[in-house]
Amino acid sequence: MNARAQVFEVDDDIEAVFEFTYDKGWTDGLPVIPATPARVDRMLATVDREPGEVVANLAPARLEATVEKIAVCAVMAGCRPEYFPVVLAAVEAVADPAYELYGVNTTTNPTVPMIIINGPLRNTLDVNCSWSVLGPNKRANATIGRALSLAMINLAGRIPEVTCKGTWKNPGGFTLCAGEYEEESPWEPLHVERGFSPTDSTVTLMTPASCFNIVDTESQAAEELLQNICGGMLGSGGNNVFPFYGLGEYALMLSPGHARLLATRFNKQQIREFLLENLKVPVSYVSPRRVKMMEAAGHGQIENGHVRYAAHAWQFLIFVAGGLGGYHSAGFTTFGDSRPITRRIPAAAGNE
């Protein structure tokens, strides 16, 4: 058990609070909601956990991230109390050793955590799965992602230059949270594919280095659309291929329109297998030094004069989100050997 969070006295003025919290290094550079004990208690009331319980020792600082301190981050981020079980599940997910949080938070790569929310809770909490998803709009997406980011700053000790050696950072580092548009997906939802029940609500955490648009406005058949999606992923800039590291996953966020057309011919596994086979460039696109390094890595990515972007079909994580009738999907690259982690969000007061 860890000591309860410390209380500081600040003038009852919104700018004074911003200056104080910014000077303390507790913010992401944007104003935060003052985490008063009453506000923190309202978060804590949504979970059946002791405030002093140590949820994780988050890398690199490995400070004790207690339930209460995570609640402080959620308040500062602007979360409604009923979002807190989602934030807590997200923190537990990134603490899974397979997520490799030390690498995520300290690498020179621009990678940051991304949250994908599945299950009935999306609708209860008004999580955006549709138009302008990942953009600045819905409070649930904006503040749940931000709460995780503030936990990285305050509880994992992700401090630029000192511990975080990110050369630049994905702007999704402020907040990066999407819901899957399950109602408009022709396939089973991501969390069901990953072993959960359709009635469960979950968070899936991955760690994209960057996000890129994949446009197709003209395809009339699934085959041509998939060919263009594959082409759209060529410039992904992932560490998998450029230069050679590891076996991390790509994420492919298909818009409902693209997903519907693809589903006339393909299931998700067939899409993954197509990408595995066809997402490749001639070795002449890559320097000889890099080719040599990729060969030495031993993942079998150099084959018949081509550099493959992945070594296994499971390296493509697929979910559906975006506005209806849209022509744009999105790809996300991994930074390396971080595995996506899915965790169930326990039902909580107000979220039944």
Binding site: A59, P60, A61, R62, V162, K165
Partner: protein, 73 residues
């Protein structure tokens, strides 16, 4: 390695010293000895790396021996 009880000296490039110190401290070894080498390191030609190794090897051996002597038996 240090966590497994093997007395360890870390070799770190100069741009990563702050992270190495913070990480060692977080894992309970605030006094973990370090050898600092120039940055970038991995893009240097092999001869340049060998030259740095020659310069640093005495420091490395000295710190390793001290670390081993100080290690609990």
């Amino acid at each position: 390695m240090q966590l497994r009880g093997i007395p360890t000296v870390a070799v770190v490039t100069e741009k990563f010293v702050s992270l190495a110190k913070a990480s060692a401290k977080a894992l309970g070894y605030p006094d973990l000895p370090m050898i600092v080498v120039p940055h970038p390191f991995e893009t240097l030609p092999a001869e340049a790396i060998r030259e740095i190794a020659d310069q640093k090897v005495h420091e490395l051996v000295a710190k390793s021996v001290l670390r081993a002597i100080a290690a609990p038996r």
